[in-house]
């Protein structure tokens, strides 16, 4: 059963189509991540689900109910905001219980839910503090606590980790995912960070310009990107997009004579090759190394093949110097083929 369903939902402001004909479903107890660059419509989509914005057209279902025109309070959902939206004059305890007090949940029930949430999140020593006296990570936990005690059918999260430092973000990422799985919550999570999306999601919806580019599992998104945009957005360093040339009768990498390409028969394609799938071989596409980036467990070589630039990931420290000439090869099964005009996927070579 799907916990949330969006049917042809649009939100326009004049000519600006913030969200344009978006449809998807979220399965009960799963985590869906809305991913995309800033301005792609992911936050607006979340706010439409929450009821903080109203739809221009389309329908939104939560569970069996059509909530399209219901106010936020009646949609039975909890939300964690990017800024946490904690009430600065209330203590941690009052913040967490705010919604239950408003809804006049009986005292005993309130205490039970509070104790449970506080135990899960490790907030028991902080209950009498005010948000201003907490660190960013602790504030984040309080915001999570407020979402937990609501025991809502659906939990929405709007870039909840973007105000934390890298180490804490990594910790909270795991914690939120573990929480979601153990409690079986249905969660919609907005982020622009592909690592966050890939590591947490059951399903990812990649958005661009108010539209869905691809709705897939993380592994599918990585192995079968629907467009050049999807290929380029997922992965660090991003996928190499290689333009082609067929000037001398055979298809080559644009601007290169040695870079023969056997997998396609015309230059109306773009090849997508992940940096981690490129090998350095004794004979292949001739390339000049233009930069070397050392990352610890691996290094990224910035190479030029004809007119195209390719990143290549090699293990550990690389002894190849800038300016060196090397030969590259990518196994056919790892080459993604996209339409040169539309950017749409045409398949892999197998």
């Amino acid at each position: 059963m799907s916990a949330i369903q969006l049917l042809n939902v649009s939100r326009h402001w004049g000519d600006v189509r913030a969200v344009d004909d978006v449809s998807f479903e979220v399965e009960q107890g799963t985590m869906l991540v809305l991913l995309g660059p800033s301005g792609c419509g992911k936050s607006t989509t979340l706010r439409l689900i929450a009821g903080l914005e109203s739809v221009t057209s389309g329908r939104i279902m939560i569970g069996e109910r059509d909530v399209t025109h219901l106010p936020p309070a009646q949609r039975q959902l909890a939300m964690v905001f990017q800024s946490y939206a904690l009430f600065p004059h209330l203590t941690v305890r009052e913040n967490i219980l705010f919604g239950l007090t408003v809804r006049k949940v009986p005292e005993a029930e309130r205490e039970k839910r509070l104790t449970r949430a506080v135990d899960i999140l490790g907030l028991s020593t902080l209950l009498q503090r005010k948000p201003g006296e907490l660190s960013g990570g602790q504030q984040q936990r309080v915001a999570l606590g407020r979402a937990l005690v609501a025991e809502a059918a659906v939990c929405l999260m709007d870039e909840p980790l973007s105000n934390l430092d890298a180490k804490l973000r990594h910790e909270m990422r795991r914690e939120i995912r573990a929480l979601q799985q153990t409690l079986g919550m249905t969660m919609v999570y907005v982020t622009h960070d592909q690592t966050e999306a890939m590591s947490m999601a059951d399903r990812i919806i990649l958005m661009q310009g108010g539209r869905i580019v691809q709705n897939a599992t993380p592994s599918e998104l990585y192995s079968r990107p629907a467009t050049t945009f999807a290929g380029n957005f997922i992965g660090t360093p991003p996928m190499n997009l290689v333009r082609l040339d067929d000037a001398r009768g055979s298809v080559c990498v644009a601007g290169s004579r040695s870079g023969k390409v056997g997998v396609v028969d015309s230059a109306n394609y773009v090849l997508g090759i992940r940096p981690e799938h490129v090998r350095i071989v004794p004979d292949g596409w001739r390339a000049v190394v233009e930069s070397v980036e050392y990352l610890g467990s691996s290094s990224v070589l910035g190479c030029r093949v004809g007119g195209e630039e390719l990143s290549v990931v090699v293990d550990g420290v690389s002894d190849i110097a800038v300016g060196a000439e090397i030969y590259l090869h990518c196994p056919d099964e790892h080459i993604h083929i996209f339409d040169a005009q539309t950017g749409a996927r045409r398949g892999t070579c197998r």
């Binding site: 929450a50 903080l52 106010p71 936020p72 309070a73 959902l77 909890a78 939300m79 905001f81 990017q82 800024s83 939206a85 009430f87 600065p88 004059h89 705010f98 919604g99 408003v102 809804r103 005010k130 201003g132 407020r146 609501a150």
Partner: protein, 297 residues
């Protein structure tokens, strides 16, 4: 160089005092010296015709207790304060909520609310003098059109003080609104959204979130409103001159009359000390008591 000047801690202290000196000199010359002087002066009776002032001890203060006009002015001032302070603060908060609500034409509304504040006091009093004028004033024309009996607003003992209160509220509320507006715009919109998601009504959100978050502003405005209530004198010159029968006389106006109309500056100084005492009490009460209840970010 004496050894003390070689000690860096001593030098730092000397530097600090030197830097404070200019401000200290001004505050001493223009605030502390006159205050102390007034205090001393309140124990003297002015000499007539060039004779030296005569020490009378607590005589002025004893007279205070018998002075009916003083008692009237004091009661009036307390009534004036308890009228203007809550009314102007309540009105200011309401107006700030209104102009912050995102209505169409709200910048015009903001301007309208703020105009009374930028007008000079005397001009304001003149405008209101016209409203209150018997027979052809604005209020009387309206009452006349409704067939009601004429009232001499400023000329009757029962209505003079409320009329003065109305003018002060009208003038102060717009000014205080600006502070509330600034404070309201500091509240992140996500708080309203979070409250809405949790099922809080608009009223609940204002009562439990917005008004508590405005408390630092309210304290500031309260202090200013209190000071204004005891500092009020300008309107009285134009509107009522404290009359009729001292029905609208306030402390500061009475001090002015005693000191500069009757030239009894010694008694005037004693009255001033009473006024200072009231203001000191008010500020101790506000900062000492309310401060603990206010949440500062």
């Amino acid at each position: 160089m004496p050894p003390a000047f070689r000690n860096p801690a001593t030098m730092r202290t000397i530097h600090a005092w030197l830097l404070l000196l200019p401000a200290l000199a001004f505050i001493a010359a223009f605030t502390h010296y006159p205050a102390v002087n007034t205090f001393i002066h309140s124990f003297f009776l002015d000499g007539r015709g060039g004779a030296p002032a005569q020490f009378v001890g607590l005589e002025h203060y004893q007279y205070l207790l018998e002075d009916e006009v003083f008692r009237k002015a004091l009661v009036n001032n307390l009534l004036f304060a308890s009228g203007t302070i809550p009314l102007s603060i309540g009105l200011a908060m309401t107006m700030a909520f209104l102009v912050n609500a995102g209505l169409a034409g709200q910048s015009v509304l903001r301007l309208c609310y703020f105009v009374p504040t930028v007008l000079p006091m005397i001009a304001v009093a003149n405008i209101w003098l016209f409203f209150y004028t018997p027979e052809y004033g604005l209020l009387e024309q309206i009452r006349g059109a409704l067939g009601l009996a004429g009232v001499n607003w400023l000329g009757s003992e029962s209505t003079a003080l409320p009329c003065v209160i109305a003018v002060a509220v009208w003038k102060d509320a717009g000014f205080f609104m600006i502070f509330y507006l600034a404070a309201l715009q500091q509240i992140p919109p996500s708080l309203a959204e979070a409250a809405m998601l949790e099922g809080a009504s608009r009223l609940y959100y204002y009562r439990r979130v917005v008004i508590p978050l405005l408390m630092p502003t309210t304290l500031f405005v309260l202090v200013n409103a209190t000071i204004n209530a005891f500092r009020m004198v300008d309107h009285l010159f134009v509107l009522t001159q404290g009359g009729p029968n001292n029905a609208s006389s306030l402390l500061l106006y009475y001090i002015y009359e005693v000191s500069f109309k009757y030239w009894d500056t010694g008694y005037g100084a004693a009255l001033t000390m009473v006024l200072l005492g009231f203001l000191a009490l008010a500020s101790i009460g506000q900062f000492g008591f309310l401060d603990r209840k206010v949440h500062y970010r």
